[in-house]
C-alpha cells in the first residue's frame, strides 16, 4: 500500500484512503450491477418459467423481453473486461505515440519558433498550444532524459507491450507492477510474462525521475 500512495506529497494518505474505498466500493458497485443484472435475468426467466407474467403481455412485449434477455447477457460479458485502451485500432498506421516528456521537448522547440512567428500579427499562438505544452511539461518535469525513457520503453515493447501502453506507463509514473496491471488492464493477460520486465522498467524510470 505504501507503494501506491508513496508518489505524492500528501498523496500517501489520500491515495490510500481514496484507493481503499474504491476497492470496497467497487465491490459494492459491482455487486449492485450484479443485482441489476440478476433482476433483469430474473424478470426474464420467471415469465419463461411461469409463463404467467408474460401471458397478459402482447407479443411485442414478449419481443422486448427477448431484448432484455440480450441486455441481461451483455452485462455478464461487460463485467470481466474493464475499459481498455485501443489506441492502435483507432488511429492510422503512420502514427507515433509520444510520451509527455517527448511531446514537451518537441513543443518547446516549436515555442521558440512561435516567438519569431508571433511577430507576424496574422499568426496567433493557439491557446491550446499553451495548454498542451503545460500538460506535456508536467510529465517532462519528472524525467531527466526523454531519450533514456524511450529506450526503456523500447525494451518493454520488445516484450509485446503496445506503443500506447508503454507511453502511458511512462506518463502516469506508476510505482509498482501491480499499479501498472491495474491501470492498464490490457496487460493483465500477460501479467506473468511481463511482471519482470515491467518491474525492471519501473526501476529504471524511477532512477530517471527528477526528485520533486
Amino acid at each position: 500500500m505504501g507503494d501506491k500512495g508513496g508518489k505524492g506529497y500528501s498523496v500517501p494518505k489520500p491515495r490510500k484512503s481514496s484507493l481503499k474505498t474504491p476497492l470496497s466500493n467497487n465491490g459494492s458497485a459491482k455487486s449492485k450491477h450484479g443485482v441489476n443484472v440478476q433482476f433483469e435475468a430474473d424478470l426474464n426467466f420467471s415469465p419463461r418459467n411461469g409463463g404467467k407474467g408474460e401471458s397478459p403481455m402482447t407479443n411485442g412485449k414478449g419481443g422486448k423481453g427477448d431484448k432484455v434477455a440480450n441486455g441481461g447477457k451483455k452485462p455478464e460479458k461487460k463485467t470481466p473486461p474493464p475499459v481498455q485502451l485501443r489506441v492502435e485500432k483507432d488511429l492510422p498506421e503512420n502514427v507515433t505515440c509520444l510520451t509527455d516528456c517527448e511531446a514537451a521537448e518537441i513543443l518547446e522547440g516549436i515555442q521558440e519558433q512561435m516567438v519569431v512567428l508571433s511577430e507576424d500579427p496574422t499568426i496567433k499562438i493557439p491557446i491550446f498550444f499553451d495548454k498542451g505544452l503545460q500538460l506535456a511539461k508536467r510529465g517532462s518535469d519528472s524525467y531527466t532524459s526523454p531519450q533514456a525513457v524511450r529506450e526503456i520503453l523500447q525494451r518493454l515493447k520488445n516484450h509485446g507491450v503496445a506503443d500506447s501502453e508503454a507511453c502511458m506507463i511512462a506518463n502516469i509514473h506508476p510505482e509498482s507492477a501491480d499499479e501498472v496491471f491495474s491501470l492498464v488492464p490490457s496487460l493483465k493477460g500477460k501479467k506473468n510474462k511481463l511482471r519482470g520486465p515491467v518491474e525492471s522498467a519501473l526501476g529504471e524510470l524511477a532512477k530517471l525521475r527528477r526528485s520533486a
Binding site: 491515495r15 474505498t21 481498455q84 505544452l133
Partner: protein, 175 residues
C-alpha cells in the same frame, strides 16, 4: 495522449500569393487553418512540426484559386477510452467535478466518485471523505480514467472516473 502524425490537406491559395514566397505563404496559411482545430479521428492538432511535401497545384475552374496537396507532420493530442490522465480540477458542483488535462475537458460525475466522498457546498465546494483526509476541490490534481469521449468541431469532451484502484487525488492545493 500525444501523438506525432503525418496528415494531408488540400490548401487553396489565391493567385496573389504566387511568387517566391509561395511556400512560406502556404505554410503560414496551413498553421492558421489547422492548429487548434479538432477532429474526431486525430484529436486536437496542437502544433505543426514540419511540412513533408507540397504537391503540384491544380487550378480550380472558374476561380483562379490553386489547390495544393500539403503533407505535414504535427503533434496531436487525443484522449482515448481507458487512458489514465492526470488532470487539474477546474470546477466542483453537486453533480460531480470538471477537470482539465491539456486542451481536454473531463467531467467526473458524482456516481464515479468513491461513495465515501460527499459533496460539501460553500465558498469552496468540494468532495471530502468522512474523516476529511481526502479532499477534491478546485485546483486539486487528480488521476482519472477516461471512460467516454465526445468530439465536436472545436473541443473534445470526456467522461472520467476516479472510482477505481490507484485513481484519485494526487495533490491537494491546500496541503
Amino acid at each position: 495522449m500525444f501523438f506525432h502524425i503525418v496528415l494531408e490537406r488540400n490548401m487553396q491559395l489565391h493567385p496573389r500569393h504566387f511568387g517566391r514566397d509561395l511556400r512560406p505563404k502556404l505554410v503560414s496559411k496551413l498553421m492558421k487553418d489547422v492548429e487548434g482545430t479538432c477532429s474526431g479521428r486525430h484529436g486536437f492538432i496542437v502544433a505543426i512540426t514540419g511540412v513533408e511535401n507540397v504537391g503540384n497545384g491544380l487550378i480550380r475552374d472558374g476561380t483562379g484559386f490553386v489547390t495544393f496537396p500539403v503533407k505535414y507532420q504535427c503533434v496531436v493530442f487525443r484522449p482515448f477510452k481507458g487512458e489514465i490522465l492526470e488532470a487539474v480540477v477546474t470546477m466542483v458542483n453537486k453533480m460531480g467535478f470538471f477537470a482539465e488535462a491539456g486542451p481536454v475537458q473531463i467531467f467526473v460525475s458524482n456516481h464515479l466518485i468513491p461513495d465515501d466522498m460527499e459533496f460539501q457546498s460553500g465558498d469552496m465546494p468540494n468532495y471530502t471523505t468522512s474523516d476529511g483526509s481526502v479532499k477534491i476541490q478546485k485546483e486539486s490534481e487528480v488521476r482519472l480514467k477516461i471512460i467516454g469521449t465526445r468530439v465536436d468541431a472545436t473541443e473534445i469532451f470526456c467522461i472520467g472516473t476516479i472510482k477505481d484502484d490507484f485513481l484519485g487525488v494526487i495533490s491537494d492545493p491546500t496541503s
